[in-house]
């Protein structure tokens, strides 16, 4: 783990409030994740990889953008580890960097149609850009 990665891991723990050491590796979070098939790293891997300080791999993963924030892993974790909070924290580590927004305003008109509710656009901006 490089110095920079150690700092990143500490930041992820600090802003998520998650204690990865509570995890008993039952896999229920990934078992219940509706976006499992869309992810390269799954919720249980976020927990173990943050524990090991492998934040850069997670920051480069498309898993960050396919988590639905449906709170299924948070609700069903028997140890209240709450993996979605780690995914959110890693996502923020990416988009809080200058020029690193995942969704840019200029791309929005091509992704929407006349029925799409404002709620969808606001949510996506909150999750994908700063």
């Amino acid at each position: 783990m490089t110095v920079n990665e150690k700092e990143l891991a500490e930041r992820v723990i600090e802003i998520s409030g998650v204690n990865t050491r509570k995890c008993m590796k039952c896999g229920k979070c990934s078992g219940t994740c509706p976006s499992y098939d869309e992810m390269e790293y799954h919720p249980h891997q976020f927990v173990s990889m943050v524990e090991k300080g492998q934040i850069k791999k997670l920051m480069e993963s498309k898993s960050l953008w396919t988590c639905l924030s449906c709170f299924a892993c948070i609700e069903r974790c028997p140890r209240s580890v709450e993996p979605a909070k780690l995914i959110e924290a890693v996502r923020l580590c990416v988009i809080r960097q200058q020029g690193a927004n995942h969704m840019k305003a200029c791309s929005v008109p091509d992704s929407i149609d006349e029925n799409m509710p404002q709620q969808a656009i606001v949510s996506a901006f909150r999750k994908y850009s700063k």
């Binding site: 600090e14 802003i15 998520s16 409030g17 509706p34 976006s35 869309e38 953008w65 396919t66 639905l68 924030s69 449906c70 709170f71 299924a72 948070i74 609700e75 979605a84 909070k85 959110e88 924290a89 923020l92 969704m103 929005v108 992704s111 929407i112 029925n115 799409m116 509710p117 404002q118 709620q119 969808a120 656009i121 606001v122 949510s123 996506a124 909150r126 999750k127 994908y128």
Partner: protein
């Protein structure tokens, strides 16, 4: 009973039906909804990070407005309800967030989670009562087979939302019975519709919502009801083909049953 009412941005634009039928039905049931002044968009997703303060402030402003009126704050959109209820819990239980939000807002008095946040469905169940609704129904929706779609935001995390049993909820089915229709239980009623990922990759929402609609159709539901504009959008976009149910806001069916549509 009078509530401070928070409609939210989508109910003023793409989800006008959700709002309009809620107001008409509330009036018919003797409940007054007083829209709070100068409300702002809640942000649509709850900011989970502990160091996110600015993104929680619009919810605190709405909560403080209801507190100053001495009323409970009534919400309708699932996303607004989720955000405002969870931010309220932060203001009640998290010293750091409470201190920083109050330092920023400089309200007349410190806001510390005093307001009670009530979803429209909770108001129907707990204040009006489903028995009273059943008695007020003028056009019972007899013969209609309706599947309730809860989605994620009303139910989870149950410890904070305290809305219903997160794995086996009943409030919408009780509502469906009260308006004279038959509830259809489907296995995906509390699974995600795909939400905002529709802007990232439409196929995710297609797969998720396709499962919800497919299972409702297979169980013979003619209608699926929801309280969430984004769920309605995703479900409707994937409800095609023969036997696909129509997707409606629950408030539209309530207004229809009460004879105020």
């Amino acid at each position: 009973m009078t509530y401070s009412y928070y409609p939210g941005c989508t109910l003023k634009t793409k989800a006008k039906d959700l709002d309009r039928y809620a107001r008409l039905s509330a009036e018919a049931l003797g409940v007054t909804l007083e829209e709070i002044e100068d409300w702002q968009c809640c942000g649509a997703v709850y900011p989970m990070a502990l160091d996110e303060i600015a993104t929680k402030l619009s919810a605190v402003r709405a909560l403080d407005s209801a507190k100053r009126s001495g009323r409970d704050l009534l919400t309708l959109c699932s996303a607004c309800h989720h955000v405002i209820k969870r931010v309220n819990n932060d203001m009640l239980t998290n010293d750091d967030i409470r201190l920083k939000a109050n330092n920023y807002l400089k309200l007349d008095s410190v806001y510390a989670g005093e307001t009670k946040v009530v979803h429209y469905l909770e108001m129907l169940r707990d204040t009006v009562g489903f028995d009273k609704i059943r008695a007020a129904v003028k056009n019972p929706l007899k013969g209609r087979r309706i599947a309730a779609y809860y989605g994620c935001l009303l139910l989870r995390p149950a410890g904070v939302m305290q809305f219903d049993n997160p794995e086996n909820p009943t409030i919408l089915e009780d509502f469906i019975k009260a308006i004279g229709a038959e509830p259809v239980i489907t296995p995906y009623r509390n699974e995600c519709c795909g939400g905002y990922t529709v802007l990232e990759d439409k196929k995710i929402a297609e797969r998720r919502s396709g499962m919800v609609i497919g299972s409702a159709a297979a169980k013979g539901a003619d209608t699926v009801i929801t309280a969430c504009p984004l769920c309605l959008y995703n479900l409707e976009a994937n409800a095609h083909g023969e036997g696909a149910p129509v997707v409606k806001y629950f408030t539209e069916l309530l207004a229809e049953a009460l004879g105020v549509k």
